[in-house]
Symmetry: C2
Subunit: 212 residues, 2 copies
Amino acid sequence: MKLYTYWRSSAAYRVRIALNLKQIEAEMIPVHLVKDGGQQHTLAYATKNPSHLVPTLELEDGTVLTQSLAIIDYLEALNPAPALLPTDPVLRAKVLAAAHVIAMDIHPVNNLRVTNHLGDMFGADADAKKEWMCYWMEKGFEALEQLVQKDTKFAFGDAPTLADICLVPQYYNARRWGLDLSPYPRLTEIEKTCLALPAFANAAPEAQFDAE
Amino acid sequence: MKLYTYWRSSAAYRVRIALNLKQIEAEMIPVHLVKDGGQQHTLAYATKNPSHLVPTLELEDGTVLTQSLAIIDYLEALNPAPALLPTDPVLRAKVLAAAHVIAMDIHPVNNLRVTNHLGDMFGADADAKKEWMCYWMEKGFEALEQLVQKDTKFAFGDAPTLADICLVPQYYNARRWGLDLSPYPRLTEIEKTCLALPAFANAAPEAQFDAE
């Protein structure tokens, strides 16, 4: 299979972690989100992904899957071990909710196309965009610090789940934009535990062959 | 169980549809998102939902679940029939992706707290907020029109799935803000089919006892 990816996209980063955890091989096809006015807007790519976003997973038979969390759901069905979601329905809903605090409440509002549009519509400069991004990360991390478990190795239990897979890329963004992470000691500890695993470290932006 | 809800919240609307489809009874507890500076910010509510968002589901034993799609995942486990996601992994990922085009790419960027923050940070007035919301709905609906199936009764197949559950509340918002829906004939047809079902119609904002 092929993963259309961009080194700095945190949605693509999530899928790279999941592929590594499940030891599924995929060819990485870079889609540069900035160069050439954004390669995600080419007709060839937009035909696969009508949202003009990364990632996209293309299966051997040409089937195309979009949306990072939907792709990870597919990978979970393909290779159920190691499981990225618990079987207990309540715990599973709690892991999903923690993942969604990142994937719904923070990431979409801070997406490149959204901050670009802030520039187009309101003349937001680099400082205003950074302030905007940090505002939503603070709100989300504050909630997430309370939603994760307290005495476990990872966000939920002693193995990585979808919550960790969403947290680590968002933390990467937070560091990139200079957010003060000291109010979130538990999240910071979880990030450290995750990045000690090769599945996470090898999925990091700087470890990608298209990194600049 | 209790659902903390607000009549106009499209995330709460999704959960109301899912409860109805699965014929699960829940007591509706209104949380007014505008009155009193937003009742979602009270300590009593924020203790249950640290994201200060609706909906929240509280189980009989006091367990609290947050995030609409995580709550629906729990309801799916509790009452598997009728299924809101197909069993085939590829089709399941496609339904999830369509749901996430709404729940990740449109709804979070148009959330009340985001448009409020546009006002605070950039002085966006009512017209600018409307323009912002319509911009993201257009982008999302354009993609979604291509992602749903063509000759089925609902978005995928002949029974409602999570994709329909996400579409209908977003279409409610689109109509509220006067978006031209003529470029999306397939989505418009799906909305009509859904709203003919009591499970959808009874979950609509105007049918709620806290509607104004």
